[in-house]
């Protein structure tokens, strides 16, 4: 009963938020990311339009508040993985920044910082070497207690470096229901990733 109530509340929230009007493009077929990475979408995804200064794309299935697939493609050395925040009268906070030649554990560290920098609590559950887009890569799983709304999320990510550029995809969704429901679609999508010449 509790699960049903939680799900009903979450769906209500999703319905409410889906009306909150951010421009969305529906994506289908082949997508080129940063002109270097190609994915073939087994199912349609929604991409949120955002300022060009944001260094990653955000895709979602159920809505931004519920699930997010963030994709960093062709991040260059010394480029930050997060948008520079507005000036707050203080020296800028340190942003996770890619440097060429990092190792897989350091790729994971950068992405941990992306999610933890606002005070959210990230707990890494698994880190393992893998192949992604035909390249030597790392895959990791984590739990995320999101600061701001206390939502308990789960996440999975892939990261690699190719020709001194950084590529990563991280999916997060509520631990209850949505993560397990959407994970197969994310994994299917990641299996299609290829670098293009």
């Amino acid at each position: 009963m509790k699960k049903i109530t939680t799900l009903a509340l979450t769906l209500s929230l999703a319905a409410l938020l889906s009306a909150c009007g951010t421009v969305v493009n529906q994506l289908e077929g082949e997508q080129r990311l940063g002109q270097r990475l190609s994915v073939q979408l087994p199912t349609a995804w929604n991409r949120f339009e955002q300022d060009a200064s944001v260094p990653y794309q955000v895709w979602t299935q159920e809505g931004l508040m519920l699930d997010q697939l963030r994709i960093w493609a062709a991040i260059e050395p010394e480029q930050a993985l997060l948008q520079k925040p507005a000036y707050d009268g203080k020296k800028e906070a340190q942003l996770p920044t890619f440097r060429a030649g990092l190792r897989p554990d350091q790729w994971v560290g950068l992405l941990e910082a992306v999610y933890a920098t606002d005070g959210s609590v990230v707990s890494i559950d698994k880190v393992e070497p893998t192949t992604w887009a035909g390249a030597r890569a790392v895959r990791f799983e984590f739990a995320l207690a999101r600061q701001g709304d206390d939502l308990a999320l789960r996440g999975v990510g892939w990261a690699t470096e190719k020709d001194q550029a950084f590529f990563a995809a991280v999916f997060t969704a509520p631990r209850l229901h949505f993560y397990g429901q959407l994970l197969p679609q994310v994994q299917a999508l990641m299996r299609t990733a290829r670098f293009v010449p």
Binding site: D88, G89, A93, Q94, E112, G148
Partner: protein, 404 residues
């Protein structure tokens, strides 16, 4: 993090209704415990009649009753939160501290420890106190924690939230609107709330005074209240600069941090009480390494190095402190940091009590500098101590690459 992707903050108004719950935007969430005294010449004056009679629950149809009901609902939600620590030993310890500070009134106060790596404590009008783990990581002893709690409890006993709610009613709609744009401590909220600080300065001053009274009466070393500020100052100055007290939008109407520290020292006088560092360390020990990792993951290494540097200096035999500073240097990775990281990590290992992750960090450091035998030894030790570590598969792959 891109603000446009942050979750809606459905608790913006509730945080305002709490006496505190305010962070320095995105960084050290300094509590409203941290607000200025607003007094030029602090003194205890007449001992406040703050301890004694317990509160009767206000009538539900009263203004105060409505506020309590709102906070009761928030507390019910908090109890279910995955971020709340469920450690009965720690709960009992904190409850005993509250009783030591306020006597019988402790029955009306519940302390919730929230796992968030920022410095913050809040007190709601219904007796719900939140203490964030970033604060617990930063206090040196029980007396410092008691100073924060005493200040929060003083707000509760004097019903400052109710007065503040009345003052903020005209700001509430704006506050709710602003609250939609991010979490605790966003600039938007700071901007709205800073208008209330002129009103709350008197409360902060009063809470400092009453908190100090409780601290002394409970037999804690009162100077430690000022030490909390002295400790925080170094971290705040990393981003805020030397004049952090004057330039911060939130602190603009308040005395600088250093002044606050000095005022508390004057209030403390020559008191000699207990610090109880060991007692607090024991009860926090089971969580401390997790909180250290939470702090490191924020990736604000300049600030973390101030914190961990202080821990290393104050506890030279503390393996976790050496590990924490060494790992922060390793992750910051400036050219000069690698040697410092190695020195600290080796110091951690030399204590004989280093956490397994210290060996991992040392292995990564050696690997980075192409010292293969040392890297192999450190990784092997890590896996021996923590064979089921989350990253064991990755470390084994590193070993395979390193082995001849």
């Amino acid at each position: 993090m891109n603000r446009s992707h942050q979750p809606l903050h459905r608790r913006g108004f509730l945080h305002a209704a709490c006496c505190h719950g305010l962070g320095f935007s995105g960084l050290l969430g300094a509590s409203a415990w941290a607000q200025g005294t607003g007094t030029d010449a602090p003194s205890l004056g007449t001992p406040p009649a703050l301890v004694g009679g317990r509160f009767q629950r206000p009538a539900l149809d009263s203004e105060e009753g409505g506020l309590w009901a709102l906070m009761d609902r928030e507390e019910a939600r908090l109890r279910r939160s995955s971020q709340v620590l469920r450690d009965s030993r720690l709960q009992a310890y904190l409850y005993d501290m509250v009783c030591r500070l306020v006597g019988d009134s402790c029955a009306d106060i519940r302390v919730h420890v929230v796992r968030t790596p920022l410095f913050n404590a809040t007190m709601a009008p219904n007796g719900m106190m939140q203490i964030w783990t970033g604060l617990l990581l930063r206090v040196d002893n029980e007396a410092q924690l008691a100073a924060v709690m005493g200040h929060e409890i003083a707000h509760y006993l004097e019903r400052h939230s109710l007065e503040r709610l009345r003052d903020m009613k005209s700001r509430a709609a704006l506050g709710q609107f602003m609250g939609l744009f991010g979490g605790v401590g966003t600039l938007a909220q700071l901007g709205v709330l800073s208008g209330a600080y002129a009103f709350s300065r008197e409360h902060e001053s009063r809470a400092d005074e009453l908190g100090m009274h409780m601290l002394k009466r409970a037999g804690y070393r009162a100077q430690e209240a000022a030490q909390v500020w002295a400790n925080l100052l170094g971290e705040l100055q990393i981003r805020g600069g030397a004049d952090v007290g004057q330039r911060s939008p939130m602190m603009a109407s308040h005395p600088p941090v250093a002044t606050r520290r000095d005022d508390l020292l004057k209030l403390a006088g020559d008191d000699t009480g207990e610090r109880r560092a060991e007692a607090l360390a024991q009860v926090l020990a089971a969580h401390r390494l997790d909180w250290i990792h939470d702090e490191i993951r924020r990736a604000q290494h300049d600030e973390s190095l101030v914190l961990f540097g202080r821990l290393v200096r104050s506890q030279p035999g503390d393996a976790q402190a050496w590990y924490a500073r060494g790992e922060s240097y390793r992750q910051r990775a400036r050219p000069e940091d690698l040697a410092l990281a190695q020195q600290d990590l080796q110091q951690a290992v030399a204590t004989g009590e280093a956490p397994a992750v210290a060996h991992r960090a040392l292995g990564l450091l050696h690997q980075q500098q192409n010292r293969k035998p040392q890297a192999i030894a450190a990784f092997t030790q890590y896996l021996a101590l923590s064979p089921q570590a989350p990253d064991s598969a990755l470390v084994r792959s590193y070993l395979t690459e390193l082995e001849p």
